[in-house]
């Protein structure tokens, strides 16, 4: 039995301990905002936060998660859209949108450790997340927008 928190709720999992978190979230809990893209931690579509830090849920097994706290895209906007989501909408980032929840989770993780990321910081942190529609230019702009907005709201 694995005990963990998902989006603030306590969960107990007694299935296959090798099951990747991705499929627990999607097929068992129904949090389908976390996407399946590659299954090998190559594309970032499945990115969620583990204790506030971005991880690839497709390559994180349930047995590794005892006592940890997972946040998915569904868990970041309980009090209205997150600042990063707002920036994404303001810049009109998405095309197909499939990778964007993973991108947003990765960006939240980035901004939590680097509130004022440089272009190089953004490249380093975001290059594990593939967008096949090619929205990278807008993702970069949205991250800068979110950082600016955060600085404004805190000043």
């Amino acid at each position: 039995m694995v005990h963990l928190k998902v989006n603030g709720s306590v969960q107990a999992f007694d299935g296959d301990p090798d099951m990747p978190l991705l499929w627990y979230l999607r097929d068992i809990l129904g949090f389908t905002g976390t996407k399946f893209g590659c299954g090998m931690a190559l594309c970032g579509a499945c990115t969620v936060l583990e204790d506030g830090k971005a991880i690839r849920s497709c390559s994180t097994q349930m047995k590794q998660l005892e006592g940890h706290e997972i946040t998915t895209i569904e868990g970041i906007s309980t009090h209205g859209p997150h600042a990063v989501q707002k920036a994404w909408a303001a810049v009109n980032v998405p095309q197909c949108g499939y990778c964007q929840t993973g991108q947003i989770m990765q960006a939240i993780s980035l901004l939590s450790s680097k509130p004022h990321p440089t272009d190089a910081d953004i490249d380093d942190e975001m290059s594990g997340n593939i967008c096949r529609c090619g929205t990278y230019q807008r993702i970069r702009a949205a991250i800068k927008e979110a950082a600016k907005e955060r600085a404004r709201s805190q000043s």
């Binding site: 299935g15 097929d27 129904g30 389908t32 009109n92 949108g97 593939i130």
Partner: protein
């Protein structure tokens, strides 16, 4: 409320209600549809003059997006065309996704024709409803129709008496008006447009960013089983024997089911193989990995890419079937003047959309419901019906969002798999393709070899031009004996070139397919533009001229040329090289072409191409270091697509096309060994990431009142040769074979 209602259209309320019952958390996480709520329907509105449009008594305007959303923005652009002519308030519009239904006309969302094909129809739809609303108001007030106007939005006004009435209040009376004839409609002039040509954010941007269950991969239906399929490693392969004993021991695995191999041609039929049915995706995948299958690989096990490449190149060196001829190039070639020739090669590509193929089917007796991310919902209906021996109208296809399509999801083989498995199990089944399935069993973009030869005058301008392309054609998917490119493929940048050359001949050689060939974003334009635009650049250097100046000289002063378009297309969309010239000038100007000297690892390249009726020029700037690493700091794109519905979406499409083109050029390569595809996932089929994509893509849209043309695909073809030409300018290294990784570059 607006967003809540949307999904009922996309995924059907009943499915949601059912899965809410089974998976309590789902209701909480999805939150899109309240149990027991009723899906909005055009037919149920107070006023519905068209299958595309309905107005409710509360003033809510429902507009159907009948084509597929996959990042192309059609759920925004198409409804805004209707809303514009209707003079509707966009904030009171709800977009409903159309199911597969032939009454809508074409729903094949490929070929970049959503706006161009439906622009007139959708405007007339909006204008018809507006006129009926105006007439209803005039009747209610007892005033002449001419004194009533739809202004401000969503309201009819009688200015003389200072009266207004809302669309909702008018809906019931409007419904009683006779539907006006087309001649009675007064379409707005472009200066009166509220939405057409004005930038707008995506209608669904908030839901997308919230992670709502919009995609085919996200569909969950009560009692649903999950399936992963072991497909034959080689096209046309069959199962000789299968040992599923280890598979059946896994917790969660229910059963295995053989799927019949297809009868050639493969068309959109399932590939066959063995399906593993489980109660979650992970168990299905794990169970599949444990299958022990012996395959009969069949005739295509002979397919080895290095050998096949040699065959294609050899064929390209021999005379082929003549596609089009102007003058007689052979006379010029026989004169013994200066001749320049080059060969080009471009490999297979996989679509690799971020959402691998997935579909849910629920077969209930004679009826089938399919939820599918599909570019071709009527194709889903047809293929499922054909496979199960049912009538097409008994198959309902709900169209979900697509996590990318790029042409792959025009082919509904995976939806047919779901239907076959649902029929066998008696339960709803979701088929999920892994990334490995997606890459290994794609309908691949064709591998192609091209040969071009030109005889040039003393100024280096071509007097004669011969070009020959060879590739296994898309038609081999529908006709197993097809070996020549179709007229359609030849029209994609090959039959005629937009250059002033008095003697010209295009040819096409034979090639046999060994994998499924399909269309991928901009199709044969990719390799054809790569060859033609690279060769034009080679001629410029051979003539010791600036490539941009030379390109303008090749295009000439500008006039209408005959590119063998169907008569109706040629009448509406003549190929005018003035427009091609103009985009070249615009992109070059924006890029400050010629201001900085190329060389020492820095350079700019230019290419132009018209595809899907849109004229595009790309200028690409590169920095190449000593290790061969190629950085792309800037791309300057100029686009003449006629009238554009949503300029911001057009900018997105062309920004994305540069990234898509980067993937093609830098690393895009699918190969086969003994018929088995060598690549499987993003580690060996890499695509552009943020740190190797173009940093900045500038997009200039030419203001035009010409009829709307395509925007989803045309950005891709000129980008690739512009990049390769830039690399030549920077390094002196000529890329004649894609991808860059075959040239010591990356």
């Amino acid at each position: 409320m607006t967003r809540r209602r949307f999904l009922q259209g996309a995924l059907s309320a009943s499915a949601f209600v059912r899965c809410v019952a089974k998976v309590p958390l789902f209701a909480k996480t999805a939150g899109n549809v309240a149990p027991g709520s009723v899906a909005p329907s055009i037919d149920a509105t107070a006023f519905h003059p068209s299958i595309f449009l309905g107005i409710q008594a509360d003033g809510t305007v429902l507009i159907v997006a009948h084509r597929t959303e996959m990042g192309n923005g059609v759920r925004t652009s198409l409804p805004r065309i209707v809303a514009d002519e209707l003079d509707a308030d966009w904030s009171r519009v709800e977009v409903i996704q159309g199911d597969g239904d032939e009454r809508y006309g074409s729903q094949d969302t490929d070929g970049s024709h959503s706006v161009r094909e439906f622009f007139d129809t959708l405007r007339e739809t909006g204008a018809t409803a507006r006129l009926m609303l105006v007439r209803a108001a005039a009747q209610q007030w007892g005033v002449p129709e001419a004194q009533c106007v739809a202004d401000p939005a969503h309201v009819v006004s009688h200015k003389a008496s200072n009266r207004t009435i809302g669309y909702g209040e008018l809906a019931a009376l409007a419904a009683k008006q006779p539907v006006p004839k087309k001649e009675e409609l007064k379409l707005k002039s472009p200066s009166e447009w509220r939405y057409i040509g004005k930038p707008a954010p995506g209608y669904d941007v908030t839901d997308v960013c919230a992670g709502k269950p919009l995609f085919g991969m996200d569909v969950r239906v009560d009692g649903m089983l999950y399936a992963a399929i072991a497909h034959p490693p080689v096209l046309g392969g069959k199962v000789k024997s299968v040992d599923d004993s280890a598979t059946l021991k896994f917790k969660g695995v229910k059963q295995t089911i053989p799927i019949d191999p297809f009868t050639p041609p493969h068309h959109f039929q399932p590939l066959g193989g063995v399906a593993v049915i489980a109660d979650n995706t992970w168990s299905a995948f794990k169970g599949r990995d444990a299958l022990k299958i012996e395959w009969d690989n069949g005739e295509h096990a002979v397919y080895n890419s290095p050998d096949y490449k040699k065959q294609l190149q050899e064929t390209a060196r021999q005379p082929g079937k003549v596609v089009h001829k102007i003058g007689d190039p052979d006379v010029e070639f026989s004169k013994g003047g200066k001749v320049i020739e080059a060969e080009y090669y471009a490999p297979h590509l996989a679509h690799a959309s971020m959402e691998p193929p997935a579909a849910v089917a629920d077969v209930q007796g004679e009826k089938v419901i399919v939820w599918s991310p599909t570019q071709n919902p009527q194709g889903v209906q047809e293929e499922v019906a054909k496979k199960l021996g049912l009538k097409k109208e008994n198959v309902t296809c709900h169209v979900t969002f697509l996590g990318g399509g790029f042409g792959r999801k025009s082919k509904p083989d995976y939806a047919v798999e779901a239907a076959v498995l649902s029929k066998t199990t008696g339960k709803p089944v979701k088929v999920v393709w892994s990334r490995e399935d997606d890459i290994k069993f794609d309908y691949f973009h064709s591998v192609a070899a091209m040969y071009i030869k030109a005889a040039v005058d003393d100024k280096g301008m071509p007097k004669a031009w011969l070009q020959r392309s060879v590739f296994p054609p898309i038609s081999s998917t529908f006709d197993k004996d097809a070996v020549y490119g179709s007229d359609g493929e030849m029209s994609l940048g090959w039959n005629v070139i937009p250059f002033d050359v008095p003697n010209f001949r295009s040819e096409n050689g034979k090639a046999v397919n060994h994998v499924r060939i399909g269309w991928l974003r901009s199709v044969a334009n990719i390799y054809h533009a790569f060859a033609v635009q690279s060769f034009a650049n080679e001629l410029a250097y051979a003539a010791n001229r600036d490539p941009y100046d030379y390109l303008l000289a090749l295009i000439g002063s500008g006039h209408v040329i005959d590119v063998k378009q169907p008569a109706d297309v040629a009448a509406k969309y003549p190929y005018d090289t003035t427009r091609l010239r103009h985009v070249a000038q615009l992109a070059a100007e924006k890029a400050n072409w010629g201001k900085k000297k190329s060389g020492n690892g820095w350079g700019m390249g230019i290419a132009v191409h018209r595809s899907f009726l849109t004229y595009v020029a790309s200028v690409v700037e590169v920095e190449v270091d000593n290790s061969g690493a190629v950085r792309i700091p800037n791309v300057y794109t100029a686009v003449d697509a006629g009238i554009v519905a949503n300029p911001d979406m057009v900018i997105s499409q062309f920004q994305g096309a540069a990234v898509f083109g980067t993937s093609i050029a830098r690393t895009g390569e699918i190969t086969a060994t003994n018929g088995v595809i060598d690549q499987s996932n993003f580690h060996n089929y890499p695509v552009a990431r943020m740190n190797d994509a173009p940093v900045y893509v500038d997009v200039q849209i030419v203001e035009s009142q010409a009829p709307p043309a395509g925007v989803g695909e045309p950005g891709v073809p000129p980008f690739v040769p512009a990049l390769c030409n830039a690399i030549y300018a920077a390094t002196g290294k000529r890329v004649r074979e894609l991808p860059l990784t075959r040239n010591g570059l990356f």
